[in-house]
Symmetry: C2
Subunit: 333 residues, 2 copies
Amino acid sequence: MPTTKTINLKQRPQGRPTLNDFDQSTAEVATPQDGELLVKLAYVSVDPYLRGRMSDAPSYIPPFEIGKPMASGVIAEVVESKHDKFKPGDYVSGTLPWKVTQVVKAKDLLKVDKSQAPLSAYLGVLGMTGLTAYLGLTEIGKPKAGETLLVSGAAGAVGSVVGQIGKILGLRVVGIAGTDDKVDMLKNEFGFDAGINYNTTKNMSKAIAEGCPDGVDVYFDNVGGDISDAALFNINKFSRTVNCGAISVYNNTELPKSISVQPFLVRKSSSMQGFIVFDYADKYPAAIQQLAQWLQQDKLTHTETVRDGFETIPQAFLDLFDGKNTGKMVVKL
Amino acid sequence: MPTTKTINLKQRPQGRPTLNDFDQSTAEVATPQDGELLVKLAYVSVDPYLRGRMSDAPSYIPPFEIGKPMASGVIAEVVESKHDKFKPGDYVSGTLPWKVTQVVKAKDLLKVDKSQAPLSAYLGVLGMTGLTAYLGLTEIGKPKAGETLLVSGAAGAVGSVVGQIGKILGLRVVGIAGTDDKVDMLKNEFGFDAGINYNTTKNMSKAIAEGCPDGVDVYFDNVGGDISDAALFNINKFSRTVNCGAISVYNNTELPKSISVQPFLVRKSSSMQGFIVFDYADKYPAAIQQLAQWLQQDKLTHTETVRDGFETIPQAFLDLFDGKNTGKMVVKL
């Protein structure tokens, strides 16, 4: 039987993951049966939420198993098909283990159209990233034109799309990112009204106040931690915080502490709401249609950081925690 | 001109207020003109939110002025009337300064019906307290029969009503209070399914888990601080926290810190929402009708702690922070 390379979870990380938490091995590749496809990975998505699945704390998705391949969103090419609707050369998207070639059930995959958008966009603006940005902002943030939107992790995969959608919807959009280059990009490429470099800003609360002179109506929060503490001081009455992620504390080994949000929420009649995109699965079709339309109208830019080669997946994932990506981080095989 | 006694804010408290922050003086009482009433206070409400108005930090209502009387919800008797709709002997409710007798504009007051409920109930279950409990629980908590409701400050004015409404709506209701007597009262008088004494419980998170074997769907939070940290570990997917108050940290002189809520909210697709009852003013009439009906049907108990005499107002207020009240704390003149 032919074999393929895999990348596995070697051990559960304590705190920040390192390359030692991963290893590579080989696995046998079966022959596709009826209803199955033999596929070869083309693009692999790495995302902060995978950190959660590396631990065995109870969460919304089961943890990865030690000694087995990790998994994430991928684009794959069909090599051999035992299903009517797919033929060799087709591209599909889905959540698959980190194995270069593998046999999968066709029903778990979605065909993607290479002619409509670059393949990797289906991991980004037309995939979970875009859906997370769009559905989080509209369903929870409920923005109204003229309001102010603050985005943390603004140069990241989700944040950069959130900000662009904010501009389409007529908001003042202010982004927080970790380098001057990223802040420039927020303003020059994504159309943000203002940007804040949290690594060079001493008083974040004051910087947010300056960037958001009318206060913050919607805070799209990808990071948690100190940055979100600073945001609290600037929320308006009836503000909505969209809790998409808390990457700044995902690697903490002790429970992170923050300024108590309760008095702020009471005083400002404000809300915080966490979510994962699957909560809104019934709204995917309409959302994808809207995102594809904006992409074709050039109202949305698809920005990504592409790493090369299956072996680079663990490092690409680790680099998310240093903010080394701009836009969606993907690995091309 | 006749004079009357007043209770004033002497100085802004640092941290926990003390009797030294108040003083008494006298003020002249004018003669009522057209559209005005001369009234005499009958019951004065003391409430945790007044602590906020003693500071000059920006908040949803302006701060009290130093050297001037404080103010709160009251029931007053009409002594003299220059308005068609009121006559001597009528009772009215409204927010008035702490002055025994005073002239007020009739349009700022509401007549209350002594035959329908005890007068002080209009400061409690039929007043802001009941409205806060009912509107917070239904509008934000959005409880569904069969779900579990956790209430902190459960023996307090709002909490005790929240729990009773929870039972009416078919929820499992678990309350947190500070003495065994209060916990007994939660179960025996208010119909709570279980109660937890936070002063004698070492592991609050575990105690909540035991009291809420199916997890917490709605958390009605009056206290914030450590108790709310413990609640976080027990929230269910899609849980709703109603942030009504944070009395445990109102007297902190430094910004209180808590466990970061963001990772919990993300992991559990859960929300927290602060409010004040005025946010839902358009829903008062229907809410009062519902509360009055339940009161008449004996489904709701009106519980209060009554102190005697105008001079006891400051101490009654201070005692809220030691949880010395059961149900609504009022002062009878």
